[in-house]
Symmetry: C2
Subunit: 214 residues, 2 copies
């Protein structure tokens, strides 16, 4: 079976899940923690080398603060939980803003935990616009090396993006690393994550051809 | 009905269509002309303001020359046919390369034909990498204006991308203008275009919410 090297995860649908349960929208994020860790473990078992989670964006921080506090806490908890695993962790986002949680500052250079087996990237207070804006402040920027002109330069090209919650769009997720990604959508909300979602995505991916634009 | 302002078109599957008919791969491109014009007319009728076609990419030009000649000719023909319509035409691509057809050089600044009603952009010898590389050669590049740092700055944000041929990926199609685009995939090959493909995509789009990352 042809496996992706790098999977991008868009864990959407937390708020809709909470609303369907009669909870406040902000109460969905905490229920995204179990899926995040389960998915990590499954990916490690099947040999995925790199995993990138879409935590929250600069756009997302314009939401009511009861929500921003809830998703920020969920991201901090998720990174702390993953630091107990064999993971090489990196948090990428705009640290020049008060919306970037201080608790995650120590993760903004890649650090290995345990055996450091799986690369895990976590986008926190990320913005596609912010990511691309490094080019214009970087004097040594080179025409031939777009990747080095990104704040997210340490995140590699993504083979497969899986989005939960039914929406078929990237919503600003790493525009450069996503140019050739195969895009798989799961209709279930992220808190309802099941291992079969991942396995179905991997089976689907196996049937795609890889052309890298050729 | 909520309509997209700008639709991106990825007309894929020409080669697979030709092969299924027992033709040479290169014989599929010419059969993509009728769909391109029909789609344009339908979009104009329903009031779409801007349309962008993915013609061919710099990556594509690495294919056997019998294919590159065929898809280059199809793009030239398509632009010439559209210049007989009420369209405001723009061809965007790397003109510094011999793969950019001389016949289309006069279209690389936007030009109105007839009543110039619908903006039509055509990507010809386009590369996402090339597009983003303008930032590094532009001294006046501004952090706050990513769009002005693109060669494709005259192409606006895309609301809906429709891809024919079943593949669920962007393949380098305008990474910046696509960050928030809803992505609809038609399994049929592009030469088998039918008006119902567009109408089904528009009905689907009507049911999506618009958040622009918020």
């Amino acid at each position: 079976m042809r496996m992706p090297t790098h999977i991008g995860i868009i864990p959407d649908g937390n708020r809709r899940w909470a609303q369907e349960k009669g909870l406040g929208k902000e109460e969905g994020y905490n229920s995204g923690l179990r899926p995040g860790v389960e998915l990590f473990k499954l990916c490690q078992e099947v040999g995925i080398k790199e995993l990138t989670y879409y935590g929250f964006t600069m756009d997302n921080t314009k939401r009511p603060s009861i929500q921003t506090l809830a998703f920020t806490k969920a991201c901090i908890d998720a990174v702390n939980i993953l630091s107990k695993e064999d993971a090489s962790l990196l948090v990428i986002g705009n640290t020049d803003s008060p919306m970037f949680p201080k608790e995650l500052e120590s993760y903004t250079t890649r650090k290995a935990f345990g055996e450091g087996k799986t690369k895990v990237n976590f986008l926190v207070n990320y913005g596609w616009h912010w990511d691309l804006s490094k080019a214009s402040v970087n004097d040594s920027s080179s025409k031939d090396n777009i990747m080095q002109n990104l704040y997210s330069y340490d995140i590699s090209r993504i083979d497969l993006i899986i989005r939960w919650g039914g929406r078929r769009r990237l919503s600003g997720f790493l525009p450069v690393q996503s140019v050739y990604s195969d895009f798989y959508v799961v209709d279930d909300y992220w808190p309802n994550f099941q291992s079969k979602h991942l396995f179905e995505a991997l089976e689907w991916y196996d049937k795609q051809d890889v052309t890298l634009g050729g």
